[in-house]
Symmetry: C2
C-alpha cells in the first residue's frame, strides 16, 4: 500500500479525528479559553507523536504555545518541508447565526460544520494526515517539520520572536501553508498574495459619565454620534479610503497579472450567493476579485456605545468605541498605515469630543514569487491531486507570519489552500468540504513527492 | 402638632422608608424585573394604606400595574388634587460607572445615592409623606388622589388607555407632578414646558451573515459603516437636525419668554462641571438652556454592531443597530416626526444596504399655561417652602402623560419638581438631596393648603 492508498483507506478515521480536534473551543482571543487553547495544543502534539514524528514539543511563548514536531528520517540530501498552520480559532457565538453548536461538529451535505473546520484546523490537519500516510507506509521522500501555533487569529504576536529564537530548529528548504481558499472546487488555484492587517480600536468620549438625554441633549456632542461622524469620514463617496496617503505605497497591478487574476474572477452571481448583500460596493474601477486581493481596505469590525439592549433607555452615552482594521497589500507597511489613520482621526475629531486610536495588532502583507522550483512542485501536486493545472490568485485574508518565513528563514512559501472561499471562515456556520479535506491530503502527499524529485 | 411639624418630627423615618423603596430594582424595561416592578407597586400601595388613604388599589394594565389611592374626607366643596408619579426606574448597570450598588441606597454628603432616588421615587414619595403629615394631623384641606404608574420610563404605553377607562375615578381639580428638576437649590423654579419624546430603533443590514473581512472586505458595504454614514447625515455641521421638515412646527420663543428663561440660564461653567464634556455643542444661535428646553433634538442613545468585546475579531458584520430618540417641543407631533425621520433615513440609505427605522415609543410635549389659579397656588407654595418666589423654566426631559391630563381630564397640571438638574437621573450615581426631599414634603403641604384657600 502506498501513501495515497493508505490515505484513502483511512479517510473515515481521519475525518473522525478532525471532529475530535474541532470539539476543542481554542479561541485564542478569549481570556476564558486559555485552558482550551492549551488542550488543543496537547491534542495536536499527541497526534503528531502517534503518527511517528521523531520529536514533538509544546513550546511556550509569552502567549499561547507553539507545537513543534519533526521527522528527519528521509534519505541523505532529501529536502526538508516546514508545514505551518494554527490550532487556534476565531470566536463563535451561537447567537451570531449558527445553525448548530460551533464546537460540536455536524456533517451535512458533504461538509463538516464547526468553528475552525476550514480555518485552520481542517487544512493543517490535512498535512498531518499526509505525513501519517507517508510515515505509516515508510515512504516519506522528505524530512518534515511542523510549526503549528495558537495565536494566528490574534495576529501571531509572539511568533516572530519565536522564529528569531529558533532559526536553526526551523531551517528548511520550503515552507507550505494551507490556510487559504479557492473560488471553486473544480479549479485549483495557488495563492501568491495575502493582505496584511492592522487592527485598531477607536474610542470617542465626551461627558464624564452617561447623561440624561433630555437634560443635556442638544448641548453635548453625543460621543456615539461623533464616532459615527468620524467613521463616516473614513471613506470617500466612491468607496475609497479617505485617509491621506493611504494608497501611496500600493504596488499597482501589472497588466499580465490582471489577466491571470481574471481567470479566478469573482462572478457577481457567486458573490451575491456567498454574501447575500443587495449589491456590490467599493472601488468601481477595480473588479470584485481585485478589490479583495489587490486593494487595501478599511473595515469597521464592530462598534458599540450607549444602551443597545432590549427596550429603550434615553441615555446620552459618555463614550463609544469601534474596532477598525485595515487589510493591506504589497508594499504597504502596517505601522505606517496605523500612523496615517491615527493622524487623520486626530485631525477630523472635533473639539467637542476627545478621541484615541489604539494599535491592537499589525501584520505585513505577503507577496510570493511565482517563478521558483517550489512553486513548480506545487503546480505539479495540484495537477496530480485535481487532474487539472492550478491558476494563480490573490487572497484577501492575512497570514502575517508569511513575511517572517520569507525574510527571517529565507524560505520560499507555498500557499497551498484547501479551503473554499465560501467556507464561512470567521462567520457563523463555518464549514469544510469533506472532498476538499480528502483532496488536500492527497495533494499534500503529491507536493512532498514533487519537492523531493526536484532537488539536485 | 400641625402637618409641617409632623413632617419635621418624622423626617428620619421618612428617609428610611424611601431607602426601602429604593432597594427594589423596579426596572420597567427589563423583562427579567417584572416581579421586582410588581413588588415596588405592592410596597407603594402598602404605604398608602398605612398612611390612611381610604381606598388603595393595584390596578392591572396590559403592562405593569398602576397604583391608585384616594382620600376624599375633606370638607364639602374642598378641591381634589391628583398626584401623578411613577415607581418604575431606568436600567442601572454597575459597570456604567456607579460608585456603589444602584439598588443599595447610600447616603453621602447629604445626598441619597440610588437608581430612582430623584427620578421619580424620591419625588413622588415626598407627596406621599406630605399626605401622611396632613392625614396624621387630621388637617388635610383637600381631597387627595394618587396615580402612581410603573411604565413611565418606557414611555407610559398603557397609561393613556387607563386614563380613558377611568375618567370618573381620576376626576380632580388640579394635577400635580413632581418628576423634574431645578437648576439650583437656592432658586426655586416651576417648569412649564417639557419635551416630548420619540423613541426609535434603526437597523441596517447587508450580508446574510457575518463575513470574513479579508475575504469580502472592499466589496461589501459594511453595515456598521453604513449605519455610521446614516447617523452622520442626521445632523448638519451647525448642530441642527438635518431631517427635512424637522423644525417646521416648533413654537418659537417669544421675547418675554426668552427673558424669563434667562433667569434660569445654564451657566457654562456649571454645564462644564455637570457634564465634564470638553466644550458645548449644538445650535449656536440658541443659548444652552434654550437648546435644552425650547429646541427639539435628535440623539443616539446607543448603537452596536459586529464584535466589540475584549480582543479583536476581523469580522465584517451582517447588521448594526442604533437606538435613536428625538426630544420634541410644543407644537411638534411625535408620530409626524417619526415619519419624517423614517422617510429621510429611507431616502439616504444607499442601495448597497437595507435599513428600517422602527417606532418604539412616542410621547407628546407639554406646555403649561402660566396664568391659572393652580399656578398661583404653586407660586405661593414655593414662596412658603423656600422663602423665595419661583421663576419659570423649561425642562428638557419628558413626561408624556402630561398631555393626557391636559386633554383627557381637562386638568391644569403643575410641574412641581423637587429634583436638581445634576441629580444624575438616567446616568450612574443618581442621587437626591435630602434637603430637597425635606423641602419637597413641606412645599407639597403648602401647595395643598394654598389650593384649598383658592377655591370659591
Amino acid at each position: 500500500m502506498n501513501a495515497h492508498e493508505y490515505a484513502s483507506a483511512n479517510a473515515d478515521r481521519f475525518l473522525s479525528q478532525l471532529q475530535d480536534l474541532l470539539r476543542i473551543p481554542s479561541i485564542s482571543t478569549d481570556p476564558q479559553r486559555v485552558a482550551d487553547v492549551q488542550r488543543a495544543a496537547q491534542w495536536v502534539a499527541d497526534d503528531l507523536r502517534r503518527i511517528g514524528m521523531q520529536r514533538v514539543d509544546i513550546m511556550p511563548t509569552a502567549g499561547h504555545p507553539v507545537v513543534y514536531a519533526e521527522w528527519l528520517g528521509a534519505e541523505a540530501n532529501a529536502p526538508t518541508v516546514l508545514v505551518y498552520g494554527h490550532y487556534d480559532v476565531q470566536p463563535a457565538e451561537l447567537e451570531a447565526g449558527w445553525t448548530s453548536d460551533p464546537f460540536e461538529p455536524v456533517i451535512r451535505d458533504g461538509r463538516i460544520y464547526a468553528r475552525g473546520a476550514s480555518d485552520d484546523k481542517g487544512q493543517v490537519f490535512a498535512h498531518v494526515k499526509a505525513a501519517e500516510s507517508l510515515l505509516a507506509t515508510g515512504s516519506s521522500p522528505v524530512n518534515l517539520k511542523f510549526l503549528i501555533e495558537g495565536e494566528e487569529e490574534i495576529g501571531s504576536p509572539n511568533l516572530s520572536r519565536f522564529i528569531d529564537e529558533h532559526l536553526d530548529l526551523l531551517r528548511a528548504d520550503v515552507c507550505v501553508i494551507s490556510d487559504s481558499g479557492m473560488a471553486r472546487m473544480d479549479q485549483p488555484s495557488i495563492v501568491y498574495a495575502l493582505r496584511g492587517l492592522v487592527g485598531m480600536e477607536l474610542e470617542v468620549w465626551g461627558p464624564a459619565q452617561d447623561l440624561h438625554s433630555g437634560q443635556y441633549g442638544g448641548t453635548v456632542h453625543n460621543p456615539a454620534q461623533a464616532l459615527a461622524e468620524i467613521i463616516a469620514a473614513l471613506h470617500n463617496p466612491d468607496g475609497s479610503v479617505a485617509v491621506p496617503g493611504f494608497y501611496d505605497d500600493v504596488l499597482p497591478l501589472a497588466d499580465d497579472e490582471r489577466a491571470e487574476l481574471e481567470r479566478t474572477a469573482f462572478v457577481e452571481a457567486d458573490w451575491r450567493k456567498a454574501t447575500g448583500a443587495p449589491q456590490p460596493w467599493g472601488e468601481a474601477q477595480f473588479k470584485l476579485h481585485e478589490r479583495i486581493g489587490a486593494r487595501p481596505t478599511l473595515e469597521i469590525n464592530g462598534m458599540a456605545g450607549g444602551f443597545y439592549g432590549a427596550g429603550f433607555k434615553t441615555v446620552l452615552p459618555a463614550r463609544a468605541i469601534a474596532k477598525i482594521s485595515c487589510r493591506l497589500v504589497a508594499n504597504q507597511n502596517p505601522r505606517h498605515i496605523y500612523e496615517l489613520v491615527r493622524d487623520y482621526v486626530a485631525m477630523i475629531t472635533p473639539p467637542t469630543v476627545r478621541s484615541e486610536l489604539r494599535l491592537l495588532q499589525a501584520g505585513e502583507p505577503a507577496f510570493v514569487d511565482r517563478n521558483t522550483p517550489a512553486m513548480q512542485a506545487a503546480i505539479t501536486a495540484y495537477e496530480q491531486g485535481w487532474g487539472k493545472p492550478p491558476v494563480f490568485s490573490r487572497e484577501g485574508g492575512s497570514i502575517p507570519v508569511v513575511a517572517d518565513f520569507n525574510h527571517k528563514l529565507r524560505l520560499p512559501v507555498i500557499l497551498m489552500g484547501f479551503g473554499l472561499n465560501d467556507d464561512g471562515a470567521h462567520g457563523p456556520n463555518e464549514h469544510f468540504s469533506i472532498e476538499m479535506f480528502r483532496r488536500g491530503i492527497q495533494t499534500a502527499i503529491y507536493f512532498y513527492e514533487a519537492i523531493a524529485k526536484q532537488q539536485p
